[in-house]
């Protein structure tokens, strides 16, 4: 009961602080805009993005503000639907990556000893491996599907957050109030999840949001290389076709500009929110008056 109230207050504090922060506000607005776009895609999209509605490579016109792609599909409609993939992948990868990373970090930081040594070494190696080639390799073998992309990006991306969580856990573990929890008789499990976790929650939140940007960019990158899911419209896939079907040489720069700009905009938005959360969570970075 108290835990529920506590988390509600915590959430509200964070949201309020976020809204106070100018960066966070701007980012939030942009993200909400794209979420709206994704949710109402079927309604607001002028055409079915899979439908052929005209001759290929048509330049922009009043009925097709961004023109048509190499098959004859409406680019604006593709763009609107593409927001879904970016958001889904972004949130999923950040969520799963955080889930894994936080769990590993908590365990490693709390129990210490050999477990910690082994896990830390593992994380170091994970982070030392060049990620893109490995991701490409995995994605190429697993085959192009949204699930595979989310899977690959998640398992490659939890290292950073694990490190941060581990460091935080290590420092918290030594503090007096944790000792007193042990003295009361709380189990390790309870201490980890009910005491330590809520304390590091703000930092985790900030990091997770920043990782959404990374995930969106990674998905776009993979799709651009041809590893994306051809059964879904995504901004990365749009750029893949734009590149391999010579949009630039045919002067169809809107086809190139629109999806790329959307990626950049959405990515920056999450970056802003994450940076704002970082400032809120980490008083050291907060600017001096």
């Amino acid at each position: 009961m108290t835990k529920l109230m506590l988390s509600k207050i915590l959430e509200n504090e964070i949201v309020a602080a976020l809204l106070n922060n100018r960066k966070g506000c701007v980012g939030l607005i942009i993200v909400i805009f794209f979420i709206f776009m994704a949710v109402t895609a079927d309604i607001i999209s002028p055409y079915n993005p899979w439908e052929i509605v005209g001759p290929p490579y048509s330049p922009p016109s009043s009925s097709h503000p961004l023109g048509l792609n190499d098959i004859g599909q409406d680019i604006l409609s593709e763009l609107i639907h593409g927001s879904r993939v970016s958001l889904i992948v972004g949130f999923s990868v950040a969520f799963f990556g955080t889930l894994i990373g936080v769990t590993v970090g908590l365990i490693s930081g709390y129990y210490g000893g050999i477990i910690d040594d082994v896990i830390t070494r593992g994380i170091d190696i994970l982070l030392a491996l060049p990620s893109l080639p490995l991701i490409i390799l995995l994605a190429a073998y697993l085959g192009p599907s949204l699930f595979n992309i989310i899977f690959v990006l998640s398992i490659m991306g939890w290292g950073g957050i694990a490190r941060i969580v581990r460091a935080q856990t290590l420092s918290l573990r030594e503090r007096a109030f944790v000792e007193s929890c042990k003295a009361i008789g709380m189990s390790n499990f309870q201490i980890i999840f009910k005491v330590i976790l809520p304390n590091i929650f703000p930092i985790i939140l900030a990091e997770t949001v920043l990782r959404v940007t990374g995930a969106i960019l990674s998905e776009a990158g993979l799709s651009f290389l041809g590893l994306g899911d051809p059964t879904k419209k995504s901004w990365g896939m749009m750029l893949y076709y734009a590149n391999s079907r010579f949009a630039i040489f045919l002067g169809r720069w809107e086809w190139v500009f629109a999806p790329g700009f959307s990626i950049a905009l959405l990515g920056t938005a999450f970056c802003l929110i994450g940076s704002a959360l970082d400032e809120i969570a980490n008083p050291k970075i907060r600017r001096e008056r």
């Binding site: 995995l138 190429a140 990158g221 290389l225 990365g236 750029l239 040489f249 990515g267 920056t268």
Partner: protein
Amino acid sequence: MSSIKSFIMRRIWFSTLTFIILLILNFIIPRAMPGDPARILVNEYQLPMEAVNQLKATFNLDKSIQEQFLAYLRETLLHLNFGYSYRYYPTTVWELLMQRLPWTILLLGVASITTPAFGILLGIISGWRRGKKTDLAITSTSMFIWAIPYFWLAMVLLYLFGYLIPIFPLGHAVTPGVSHQNLFEYVVDVLRHMILPIIAITLTGYASYTLITRNAMIETLMEDYILTAEAKGLPEKKIMLNHAARNALLPTVTMVALRFGFIVSGSIYTETVFSYPGVGLLIYEAITYHDYPVLQAAFFLLSITVILANIIADIVYLIVDPRVKYT
């Protein structure tokens, strides 16, 4: 003196461990994946059965896992035999890589200098002028550029300066079909083709250097010896560079090599956009044509490069920071 040795030993041990994991991964992934390579070969490439059998033999699927692994190690490490390319059969993967590698080395070589240099310079200036307009301008543009997908930036550059205002060529490493009179012309042609890709890689990669350098500068500027330098009456530039930057750069140096992996990925995208005939473009083609042996080998090669770069970074750090010698 022994502490340097132990430091290097630890790094080498760590790198070796990473390398071993790499080898294992490189072995496991293709074999653990769903699908029968033979089917791909027959369906996509219409290769005759003897070729298929030959390729199958490289996998040694009839032997036990241990024997396969040993064979794999022997072939990869001793003979540098990565098998045959599916697409360009009977060309070996090694031949393909060697054809493309020089271009990538050229591109990466230059980019790995320009990107940190540009980023660090901006970081120094932005840290020195913290809170002022210059700093805000640099930090906010860097944040925005960081969120821009690299390949898109490359495409935009290509469109703007290759197509719209045709200052630079539209791709490739040299103008195709042209034979050059002399070395000078050749070099100029190569340089002309390199400029846009280098700009693309630099712009996509510089932001993290700027951020780290800026933070390091801000911390360094709070140190007492900066106050001393000011009291000595030294001019601003001298304090900024000789005193502050000199100290702030120490952690950045390590970062340079750690981010080398990032520059490598950046080059894959850049080469794809600019049709630059390096390893990156090879990878792109290999993805499109399901040329798995090439993908594996490229992964392997790139990974080794990154590991080596990390070791070099550590050694450079040792040379640059006199204090490390004695800790």
